[in-house]
């Protein structure tokens, strides 16, 4: 099983990776990407089970990556969680249109994030 973490901020990537680290012991591979294009390449090549996807990113934003994954690549079974900054206006409608499965706010609650990952992966 694979989880992809996409965020242009290295600290956030590291924090999410660290939060999910204990899943490595259960055979989960953690992948990271620092922008939308890299994320889409990884999704295509690795077909992760779960993607934590930052919305606000340079080049391709999270909405576009989600849209491409679910519609162009047809990978509707990839569970995508959009990460939005707290206090920033979030376009829920757009989130629905691009087929996001869930959204969570940053700063994130590490316990909630880990729990969600476990439930999506069924472990």
């Amino acid at each position: 099983m694979k989880i992809l973490i996409v965020d242009d901020e290295p600290h956030l990537r590291m924090l999410i990776q660290q939060t999910l680290e204990e899943l490595e012991d259960e055979g989960v591979e953690l992948l990271t990407a620092s922008n939308g294009e890299e994320a889409l390449d990884t999704i295509r090549d690795e077909q992760p089970n779960l993607v934590f996807l930052d919305v606000m990113m340079p080049k391709k934003n999270g909405f576009d990556v989600c849209d491409a994954t679910k519609h162009e690549l047809g990978l509707s079974n990839v569970y995508i969680i959009l990460l939005t900054a707290k206090g920033q206006e979030f376009d829920r409608q757009r989130g629905q249109e691009v087929g996001a499965d869930l959204y969570m706010t940053k700063p994130f609650d590490p316990d909630a994030l880990l729990e969600k990952a476990r439930s999506v992966l069924g472990i």
Partner: protein, 475 residues
């Protein structure tokens, strides 16, 4: 923390792989890195020598190849593994800080939304237990500065880790310094059932230099608490203290306002404020004091009310009582009660006054004048006028809150009160009848006309009474 494997360290996506691969290449190939199971991760296998990759006495895998090449690659891999371990430790530490910041932020948000002290305690304990392991958790607060500790919230278990009479909790509250005790049963302050707690961590709820209680997390198993736990609980305690402080302050304000509203129903507003400022209703315990009692009632009320609708009677009385109360308050009087169509008021109580008798007299005159205003207003509305008679007497009486705990009323009792009631019975329409004692108490009022000696029901001796003549107010 997940254990570091060579597979993870040298996976194609990891940062370490290119460095090792380029070293192997620079050595001309022939070297390979294998994991513990012998699976080739990088380079080629089958070299003549094997060198283990050792990190902190543990073998992570081995490097095959010529002895010197293999040794060099093994040492590079071990170095990179050590770096990776270090990076992970740092990341774990940063994540822990992030968790703490997130938790403190969440607690702030939660606390800002509640004023109820139990809800505050619940939020604080819930957040504290997310990062500090505990089998028992509880908060004790002191509601007033001299008062005892009281348990407000207990998490999950029925019993608080420390009971309200805990000597340990008291010592933390008193010193205002958080403490960790990792062998609690042997602490000399531990008493009774609280000694079931093997370890505990207790922080004072400090706000504005004083302590409003303590928050305690404890374990009946051998949990060892660290200074990091203490620091976190102390931070949570400070936030909680501010919220508890707000909650207690608002409760006090509310109670004060309720009391003020109650007092204002029968006391002039300035007297109500004075009583609140000097300790509240407890000052209203019965005391024997010199007072002036005023009775006023409507002449011919019974025959008048027989011809009226009940609703009109109520309306008339309400208008009458409202107008008369205002006059009484203006003359520093205390409204004792309304009895049917009768008003009873006190002067010189609850706060003793040297002008009680003249205040009472001026209130009586003010009420008669106010009746003229009221009657003009009534006739303009096509309503019949009505008149009142007033009786006034002064002397010693017991004044204070009298009644049962649920229904206390500020009132005066004693012979002085009875005499005033007898006097009002002698007063005709627009009349003010006063006793000898009242007249003697107001030597500079020239309008007393003697009515001679009269017998009052229930009294052995006759009494001189007077009519106070009053001039109508100019129209």
């Amino acid at each position: 923390m997940a254990t570091l494997t060579l597979k993870a360290l040298l996976s194609p996506k990891a940062g370490a792989a290119p460095a090792v691969a380029s070293l192997i290449e620079a050595m001309g190939g022939g070297t390979g890195v294998e994991d513990l199971s012998g699976k080739l991760l990088l380079g080629v296998s089958g070299g003549p020598s094997q060198v283990p990759v050792i990190l902190e006495d543990a073998i992570l895998g081995r490097v095959t190849g010529h002895q010197s090449d293999a040794a060099a690659v093994a040492s590079l891999v071990a170095h990179l593994a050590a770096k990776e371990i270090e990076r992970r430790a740092l990341a774990a530490e940063v994540l822990q800080l992030y968790r703490e910041i997130h938790l403190i932020g969440q607690l702030s948000e939660e606390l800002a939304a509640v004023l109820d002290i139990t809800a505050i305690g619940k939020s604080a304990l819930k957040q504290a237990r997310r990062l500090i392991p505990a089998s028992h958790a509880g908060i004790l607060v002191v509601e007033n500065p001299e008062g005892p500790l009281r348990s407000i919230t207990v998490a999950d278990t029925d019993v608080p880790p420390l009971p309200p009479d805990s000597r340990f909790a008291a010592s933390i509250a008193e010193r205002g310094v958080a403490e960790i005790v990792n062998d609690f049963p042997s602490d000399p302050r531990a008493l009774g059932y609280e000694r079931a707690m093997q370890s505990l961590i207790c922080a004072p709820l400090r706000a504005k230099q004083h302590t409003s209680g303590v928050i305690t997390l404890a374990n009946t198993t051998g949990q060892h608490y660290s200074s990091a736990h203490l620091k976190l609980l102390d931070t949570i305690a400070m936030q909680t203290a501010a919220a508890v402080e707000n909650s207690l302050a608002s409760q006090q304000l509310l109670a004060r306002e309720v009391e003020r509203q109650t007092l204002k129903r029968y006391l002039p507003p300035q007297v109500a404020d004075l009583i609140l400022a000097s300790g509240g209703s407890s000052l209203l315990q019965g005391v024997l004091q010199p007072i002036t009692v005023l009775y006023a009632d409507i002449r011919g009320f019974t025959s008048m009310s027989e011809k009226m609708e009940a609703r009109d009677i109520v309306q008339m009385l309400n208008e009458f009582f409202t107008a008369m109360s205002a006059v009484i308050f203006r003359c520093n009087g205390t409204l004792d009660k309304f009895i049917g169509d009768c008003i009873m008021a006190l002067f010189g109580a609850p706060i003793a006054s040297s002008t009680a008798a003249s205040d009472g007299l001026w209130a009586a005159i003010g009420m008669q004048r106010e009746m003229e205003v009221l009657n003009r207003s009534r006739s303009a509305r096509g309503l019949p006028p009505f008149q009142i008679g007033i009786g006034l007497h002064c002397g010693l009486a017991v004044a204070g809150n009298i009644g049962s705990a649920d229904r206390l009323q500020y009132t005066a009792i004693g012979d002085t009160v009875n005499v005033a009631a007898r006097l009002v019975a002698k007063a005709g329409a627009k009349e003010i009848i006063v006793s000898e004692d009242v007249r003697a108490g107001i030597p500079d009022f020239a309008g007393f006309e003697p009515l001679g000696e009269v017998e009052l029901r229930g009294r052995a001796t006759k009494m001189n009474i007077y009519s106070a003549v009053w001039a109508p107010s100019p129209q």
